[in-house]
């Protein structure tokens, strides 16, 4: 059976504007959660987030191109560029584009564009809507823009499943490469939806923390919003090896399930099925896995449920597992979360360093796993899992193996 290699990685998030900066911050246990600066906070009760700062769009795009790009597409392109450069692939060569998928997850698409045009319409009562509104805000815009930039002419579309969008998107791309439907894929997720009404909407769900994000810890008060993008190049394994590409990791499997339960509360059994499904799909035993990058939002509901789901699947081995949540550092980037978190998974495999769960104070007996509090841990691992458990009970777990 065909295997799938990851030969390119790109990211932009609160921790940094590229994958190395992001991983370096993760290793250091440095949290980028802080006071909101990109939008006015006078109406907000929650005044913290993990925003991308120091970002100048004109440093990456010319003004005419920028007219077509909502912030979510900008982030996706920046991450895609980094990944494609690292892969060393020219998709225009050898009709590779035809044999490439481009599948990019996002929770909500061009929310900044939607917000600004709505504001103009309702607040200024200006009946003229900018003609580029639709092509900017549509959820497939990030996928389209990447496809256009690299002439990726195979299966191209967006995947939407709230906080699991990126993992679901990458699982689709992985399946296509593994099955031979395509030979390459550019895949990941992007999200940029920190607007005033969006923050208010999240406040209203009463799951956001007002101090910081402390997953698995007794003092946790909820999640903190993040933004950014992660994009990866997937390639058929033997092709990557034959051309001497640097293989960052092997994309080994994916498990997907739905809770069919509550629209917000997670289910232990639903999550467990996705975890077990990922192991089975990757032909891994529980004992092969050394690290799980948790969904770990820091909400009262997720963390104990996720801990129990992991125990259910891993049994006694759960006592040796490292399970950390990097959302403690880059926030919850929603549709981009799984992609930014794959940077952590790959870093752990390549460097034998487990990024910590930051902001940890006291252990919670209901979350009785080793969550690597505050300080990164050296541990050689051969296989890792990365979890995403979304609202509506949508679960996607990815399995990677050391290359």
């Amino acid at each position: 059976m065909r295997r799938v290699a990851i030969t390119g990685m790109g990211a932009i998030c609160a921790l940094g504007h590229d994958a190395p900066a992001t991983w370096a911050a993760m290793r250091e246990g440095r949290s980028a959660i802080g006071p909101i600066r990109n939008i006015p906070t006078d109406l907000l009760n929650i005044k913290i987030a993990a925003e991308v700062h120091g970002y100048d769009p004109l440093a990456h795009f010319n003004p005419k191109r920028l007219l077509l790009l909502d912030r979510v597409s900008q982030f996706a392109l920046i991450a895609a560029r980094e990944a494609v450069v690292q892969s060393g692939l020219d998709f225009r060569d050898d009709a590779r584009g035809d044999r490439s998928a481009c599948i990019i997850g996002t929770g909500i698409g061009g929310e900044n564009t939607h917000d600004e045009q709505s504001r103009r319409f309702y607040e200024e009562r200006n009946p003229r809507v900018h003609p580029l509104t639709i092509v900017r805000l549509m959820a497939n815009a990030p996928a389209c823009q990447i496809s256009m930039e690299y002439a990726l002419t195979g299966p191209t579309f967006a995947v939407v499943s709230a906080c699991a969008s990126a993992n679901h998107a990458m699982a689709q791309a992985f399946d296509m490469v593994r099955s031979g439907k395509v030979d390459f894929a550019v895949t990941g997720g992007s999200e940029a939806c920190i607007t005033v009404p969006t923050v208010k909407a999240w406040e209203a769900v009463r799951v956001t923390a007002d101090d910081t994000c402390r997953p698995f810890c007794r003092q946790r008060r909820g999640m903190v919003l993040g933004e950014g993008s992660g994009v990866f190049v997937l390639e058929e394994f033997e092709h990557a090896r034959a051309r001497g590409a640097t293989i960052l990791a092997e994309f080994a499997g994916a498990g997907m399930s739905a809770d069919a339960g509550d629209i917000v509360l997670p289910s232990e059994t639903g999550a467990a099925r996705a975890l077990a499904g990922a192991l089975a799909d990757a032909r891994l035993e529980a004992g092969d896995v050394g690290y799980i990058n948790a969904h770990g939002t820091g909400t009262p509901a997720n963390d104990p449920t996720e801990s129990r789901a992991i125990r259910r699947v891993f049994g006694a081995h759960a006592d040796i597992l490292c399970v950390s949540s990097t959302k403690s550092m880059h926030g919850h980037a929603l549709g981009a979360a799984g992609a930014i978190e794959l940077v952590a998974a790959i870093g752990a495999l390549r460097e034998g360093v487990i990024p910590p769960t930051a902001n940890f104070i006291d252990a919670d007996p209901q979350c009785d796993l080793d969550c690597v509090p505050n300080v990164a841990r050296e541990k050689s691992v051969r296989a890792v899992l990365s979890n995403s458990f979304a609202f509506g009970g949508l679960n996607a777990v990815l399995a990677l193996k050391r290359a």
């Binding site: 005419k64 007219l67 200006n126 009946p127 003229r128 900018h130 003609p131 580029l132």
Partner: protein, 91 residues
């Protein structure tokens, strides 16, 4: 050059990235090689600037040529001014 003409030349130049010296009253948007998405943005900027709505596919309005756009805008602005100046009828 009338000010409507100046404004429209400036908008076309900016949105389509064309040297204003290349634009003439007789030019059509096709002549100027303006892409359809740029043309739509030009219409939008004109509408936004003058707070008028240029009709779509109306045979009485020629929005394909520069002179047609100028005539259309002048007409719509005049109609707006007349409507504003008209006395209200007390029932």
């Amino acid at each position: 050059m009338s000010s409507v003409q100046e404004t429209i030349f400036a908008i076309i130049s900016k949105e389509a990235g064309i040297d204003p010296a290349k634009i003439s009253l007789d030019s059509t948007l096709k002549d100027l090689e303006i892409q359809s998405l740029d043309a739509v943005q030009i219409i939008f900027e004109i509408e936004d600037h003058y707070r008028v709505t240029l009709p779509d596919r109306d045979p009485n309005f020629d929005t394909e040529s520069v002179s047609g756009l100028i005539v259309a805008v002048e007409r719509l602005v005049a109609e707006k001014q007349n409507a504003a100046a008209a006395p209200t009828v007390q029932a």
